[in-house]
Amino acid sequence: MNWWQFKKRDADLERELRSDLELEEEEQRESGISEGEARYAALRAFGNPTVIREQTRAIWSWNWLESLSRDLRFSLRTLRRTPGFTVIAILVMALGIGANVSLFTVVRGVLLTPLPFHDPDRLVMLYEAGLLGDDSTGSNVVSGGMYAEWKNQNRSYSSLALAKGIRVGLSGSGGQLPEKLNSALFSWDMLRTLGVQPALGRDFTLADDSPGANGTVLLSWGLWKRRFGANPGILNQTIFLDAQPYTVIGVMPKWFDFPDSSTQLWTPVYQENPEDVMTSFSNHQFRVVGRLKPGISASQGVADLSLISERVHNEHLNDPFVFRSASSRPLLEHLVGEIKKPLYLLLEATFCLLLIACLNVANLQVARAAARRKELAIRTALGGSWLRLIGERLMECLLLSASGGALGLLLAFAALHWLTQTRSDMSRVESIHIDGVVAAFTVGVIALCALFSGLIAAFSISDKRILSALHDGSRSGSGGSARASLRKVLLALEVGLTVILLIGAGLLLKSYERLRSADMGCITQDVITMHLGIPDARYATPAQRANFYDTLLDRVRALPGVDAAGFATVVPGQGYQMDWTFSIVEHPPLPQGSGQFALSRWADPKYFHAMGIPILRGRTFDAGKRLDAANEVIISQSFANQYFPGEEPLGRHLRGNGRNAAVIVGIVGDTRYEIGEAPRPVQYYPLDAGVENVGTLVIRSSHDLEQFALPVQRIVSEMDRDLPVSDVLTMNQLLGKSILDQSFNTALLVAFATVSLVLAAVGLFGVMSYIATQRTTEIGIRVALGAKRDQVMRNMLLDGMRPAVFGLVVGLAASLEAGQLLRDLLYEIKPLDPAVYAAVAATLLAVAAFACIVPAWRASRLDPMQALRAE
């Protein structure tokens, strides 16, 4: 039945009642009663027509809607009457719901949505595993040789494909500057394995992916739009990558971002890489994706591959760097493995925040119920049913959480927009968006909040107390103490949750501080770094490369303001990057099957000075020794300690990775390859050998660092027009970038904890003020009878602090457990860090005392006469 039908029926009913009533009246008159009397007699016989109408109307089931709209109107009116409360409650809810919705959206997009590939559940990431040299690992990148063996001999995978992230220089063309891009090498069947087609053009073929084939390249959607104006005519055109010609054969779909979101180009791996890399069993550098055949489990697949690895290992017993087994992980887990834990942690934190928000709103509601107890009592006495009162409470809370939720959704929109902008490096960030499921989640959260806070508030109005409310309303000595105690319990809960958040935030904050202040082993102030790579095509010989470096460094050092400059393949903080096997010529050969490897870097003689890496003993490279004559090596302190215990390393010789033996000429201080990782042994070889073609230029200066970007760029482009300079970062920025995750998580958790602390303080303040108002008369009497004011104040303070202290104890106890969740995210501190616990306890007590002191002070200043007159 719709509205107008309902109206019609209502009019009909009214007419029916009127006509019957008139008839009754006429009959009364006919029985001889006077005109005026007849009407009343009729009404007496008939009953109240309005009530009858109400009751009859109830038959037509529209009643519930009507009462709902009445509740709604009533709640709106009540909320409008207390705008302060309403605004605070809505804001609190908006914060809680907004945080939850954003985090849920992120978790759903990143962790729960299946990968956008064909049948993604059958895709696995494959690794080599087991003992290697003196080390052992569960998941290592794969060697080209092992991949080939796996591919040819396995019976568990319908296909195995290869990928490797690299960086290439895209030459300038049509007035555009050359630039350095993240690119990936794919085996020709990678896209087939994933089940993806290019959006434009064609996929790689086997012929494209063989040594000696012409270069082919797939462009990302973004690069195609940005650099080539989304012109489909780019297909079959030639572009230059590292000064080599490549034919554009296709453009990938917009969403495609494998192996990571920064990848902008894809080229075939066999066409690109020298054959010895692709056949070596000990040179590990590839990621392998496999698609399991139907009916084969992941572990069966791994067992199959491990058998192959074992056989290959046994055939190459003289090479200690051939793995003997394999391992796998679902592809999704590989891609999001690192952010899974922090994300869930943040989700838990936002849930805590929401709970606090609900408790706070419930608390405010209880306070309001307390203030309105006389109104409620009178309504109950007049026959208002308890269910109606609960219904109204729920309706109020629903209104509050719905408005809060709407606002929260806006907040979530803004937060997610900000997140996808600032954290475009996060894996799968493109799959984060608000959709139907998120909307449903929001509605669910709103309903839950309304129910939770509404029920708590509703149960504070128990029907049994109606009479007592009317009683003690007239002279309240200790009135409403029961309600105050409910509020104290809620507060204790709130404080407890806040403590958990504070402890979590405190631990992360301290850990982050430790990270930031970790000694990198080099100067981190006043140093700027720039990434530079010279293409093999134009710098084919060691001499050409060495000359380039020499010229570049000479010109950079000549720039005004440059205190020192150097060049190294990898600088501290840039990651593990590369290691080399080595043997010590003077030591007896190692037993078969064991071998040594250490991080390897190439550096120019003045690099150590420029970076402030101390030369502890010996000297730096001899600048006069170049190319083949550059047969020196410098080792780090931990290298010396580990491989030359109780021995003089200087003058000994290292034979690195099949090269000629080099003499150790110096020992330098340890550095960290990554912030938060312990220093590892490093071997430095001279850049002037001309072996390496990519690296980082470092400039130290006490002047404004940013100003060097342009002059250096000019120098480079004067030397080679097509050479891009990229990643211009100060050392601080570089390190900050590498701990972006930690700083991000820490910032969020600290924000959540701060908000909850404020909420708890507001709650405490509210309860204290309420208690103080409740006890106005009592305090008045006490003061009148001679109680000391500071005593009154102490009493009030203690009263308010009790729930805070109780909550603190509960929260600290719960944190012992919750802190364990953080274990993996902490750097150099334990989850039970006493300093953090002490600091949190102190902060909380201080905030609680501050929140209580104002109402307590006010209570102690009461004028007894006024207090007694207040009723």
């Binding site: 009909d12 009913l13 007419r15 029916e16 009642l17 006509s19 019957d20 008139e22 008839l23 009754e24 006429e26 008939f46 009953g47 109240n48 009530v51 009858i52 009751q55 009859t56 109830a58 038959i59 037509w60 109950t380 049913s385 308890w386 029907d463 109606i466």
Partner: protein
Amino acid sequence: MSSMAKQAQQRVGLLQGTLDMLILRTLLYGPAHGHQIGKHIQRTTNEFLQMQHGSLYPALHRLERRGWVVSRWETAPDRNREFKYYRLTNKGRKQLVAEESQWKHMAEAVARVMWPAAEEN
């Protein structure tokens, strides 16, 4: 408070079933409007059942909603005015038979408990 509400509900519930039956039975004589039905029940029971209009009209509308009666505005033969006349439907007739037999069983059962001697005679 809540216990009181329960009591009230029980009273209505008891009356409701019987009232429905009484209305249906009254309409067996032919169409009638609310006032007539009320008056009829009151008169027939020798004013024993004081008709509560507060339950009569809800009951009529309930019956109409269940399809046991239909209503129409018709001019009364003795007054020159329209009244809302209710008349029994086939469904209502069947319902009356069912309720009647149910009531009979009930009355017999109650009687057996209340006056066991009469049964033996």
